[in-house]
Amino acid sequence: MSTPVQIIESPQIATWLSFEAGRVHVRTGRVELGQGNLTALLQIAADELDVQVGQVVISGGDTRQSPNEGFTSGSLSITQSGTAIRWAASAARHALIGVAARRLAVPAERLNVIDGHLYIDSEKTSLSYWDVAADVDWQQDVTSLAAPKQSDARQIVGKSIPRIDLMDRIAGTPFVHDLTFPDMVFGRMVHPPCMGAKLLRIDLDRLRVRPGVLGVWRSGEMVGLIAESTHQANIACEWAHQTAEWSLPANAPIDPLAAISQSEEELLPVQAHGDASTYASQMVTHKVSRPYLSHGSIGPSAAIAVWDRERLCIWSHAQGPYPLRDAIATVLSLSKEAVDVIHHPGAGCYGHNGADDVALDAALLAKAFPGVAVKVVWSRADEFQCAPLAPGMVTRVSAAVDSTHTIQAMDVVVNSAPHGNRPGRNGSPNLRAAAFLDPPFPPSKSNDIPLSAGGGADRNAVPIYDIPNLRVQKRIVHELPYRTSSMRSLGAHLNVYALETLMDKLAADASEDPFDFRLRHLRDERAKNVLKALRDTTASVRALPATEGGGWGLGFAKYKNTAAYCAVLVQVEVQERVRVTEAHAVIDGGEIINPDGVINQTEGGILQALSWTLYEAIKFEGPVVATEGWLDYPIVPFSDVPKVEVHLIHQPNSPPLGCAEAAQGPMAAAIGNAVFRAIGTHVCDMPLTHDALVQAALNQ
């Protein structure tokens, strides 16, 4: 097994683990976003060390103490950090046993560990890990000692250990919104209404004397304030919004999605083999679209910052403490070493939402008003209008089949606003306020995300099926004024929808069962097994007699073509609108650390994708995001939630593949295909609302 990249970057055991006061302290650079990753990482450490779960304390990303693991994104916490922690814990175990063996004068091979106590064969000694920890050289490299257990020796991974943070989230105060400090003040930024806006007029003198306002700050187009209370900060900020005058850029399209569809920006090759172009005249073409979406965190983004004139300390729920630190240091002309970013939970973010931006807001105000803790909590409207959006996309898929209805060629073109705009990703801080400062730090032109890193717009645009002639291309549309970045599953949500609804169209043309048609085009045995498992578990659903407006549909993908396999089958009823009545999924995510955690994440992916696909669309007025609140942006309500069943395929001898983003593409596709089966029409434009159904019927 090759050395995990995290271990190469943070090679010493001491970075990952320490042993104090009867506890093992594990430090990951990843952060808990509500997905349960810290519980699973803790299980991995406990198993490797032969200690109880309760003997381990784990902490997430914190630039003061954790390894730098970049962003917690891409369903990679377990795959990457989990593997690193497994190696580090193994190294720690061997280092501790080595010291104990010398002290007990026995060969290390005779020592066993139970709950952190050392045994010679089956006889308990007087020593525990904590008795010998002081004599271990913790500066040793992990790689010199790591020899992780074989899968059949593991006892804690593979079990549904309850979430370690759950009680606090149900009935506690775990969020960054809840932190308080002595002399804390409450900040708000008067956000420019859109990118490129210029502040023409604002009365700072009158703003300064609004009730409770303690200070007002301006740099370039950015105005901020601090006040004695949240309420006073909000009222003053609202007054500033209402009285300020802005000029707005004139480059907004009338129809953003049409602009994406018609863009003539450079077409970039993604993957090709054979010669798909020779089949151009025989191709069936399918064009699908997704509007801009919001991450839609239930809790608007928040942060707290303190500047003591030497060091800046920020508490943030952002996904990447180190990249955020570096970006903020750049904007504030500080050395990285003078800035600390400490992760503290927020509401689920589902990708790059406003968490990083609000951290800069707090940092700017803290720097302007030294010595006090500044808490900034965005409004609901800020979260919709100022956070990066999930990009609008248009994907065209064309395929040619031969006389046996076997696919001979496929041509995929993805047009999309950029997905990969996290802080620092393209060489600029890409924090919203930074773009408006004097001097400004405008966002760099986005490179999107290369396929080697999972792809952005092109994520899952390459079909998993065996197709002899293939060409996949993407066009990143930069020319629109909206700020976009990564949301869970990135391009996979629409690309899997495109590929899988075309697969059903081709299967229908062949009068072939959608499972059989896919299996006939697959060589990957794990992929086949997932589809067969779903076919078996859903036999009774598919055997139901056809009803008016009812139907089932299948969607399948291997996430990023490198990670978890997931197949979803849904049953829908289509009347005035689409209603999903049940959803069944089979997922092969490799080694499973916490089965209930995988099920919880897969259920979440299914329901979130249901919401994106059936309900959601950001509204624009020119260059401005017009969506302000939940009434403008309906998401799935409890009453429209179907029965959901998730089945796991456990592969204890395979690497863990991550699970949080595997289901979104397949779920969307399953809905599209079920609607096709129910009404005989492919609805190509998300969201699949009543209006979209009517439009699709008219277009037919």
Binding site: R163, M167, R169, H231, A347, Q601, G604, G629, V641
Partner: protein
């Protein structure tokens, strides 16, 4: 306090409180969170549309972000702080834990309060009433199925 100000009296989690009507326009949510430090009440939207800030007022669930202190004269309020965690967790909390019915958890304390109000006023809550109550809340992680399953176990089985 100005000479025209009157007093607003109410109680929170059994503790009597008096504020001046000068403070009457302060949103209940911010008063609970910032003044009283009751941070289990969570800010979500400020418009009564997501349910994250739900508390119990005179036995009924209300959103606290779109109410102000002047609305609270005489009110008996309960916040999620009444859901004990350490010793005897409230049955609602126990069910949520048993089903691991949380991902990020930001929405859950508000849901728990609405359901508490429901069962406190009528132990024989029907499934339809429970479902209708949940529709006053938004969850973004997709934990709906588990939340529903957990809370339906509180229903008294008929027959």
């Amino acid at each position: 306090m100005n000479s025209q100000a009157t007093l607003i009296q109410f109680s929170v989690n059994g503790e009597g409180l008096i504020v001046s009507s000068d403070q009457g326009d302060i949103p209940l949510l911010h008063y609970l969170r910032d003044t009283l430090g009751l941070h289990r009440v969570r800010f979500g939207c400020g418009a009564g549309t997501c349910g994250a800030c739900t508390v119990v007022c005179d036995g009924k669930a209300i959103t606290s972000c779109d109410k102000v202190l002047s609305d609270m004269a005489g009110a008996v309020l309960e916040t999620p702080e009444c859901l004990d965690t350490e010793v005897d967790a409230h049955p609602i909390v126990q069910k949520l834990v048993a089903h691991q019915a949380v991902q990020c958890g930001y929405c859950i304390s508000g849901i728990a309060m609405r359901v508490k109000a429901l069962f406190d006023s009528d132990p024989n809550v029907s499934e339809a009433t429970l479902d209708a109550a949940l529709d006053q809340h938004l969850c973004r992680c997709g934990t709906h199925v588990r939340i529903k399953q957990a809370l339906r176990e509180l229903l008294i089985k008929k027959g």
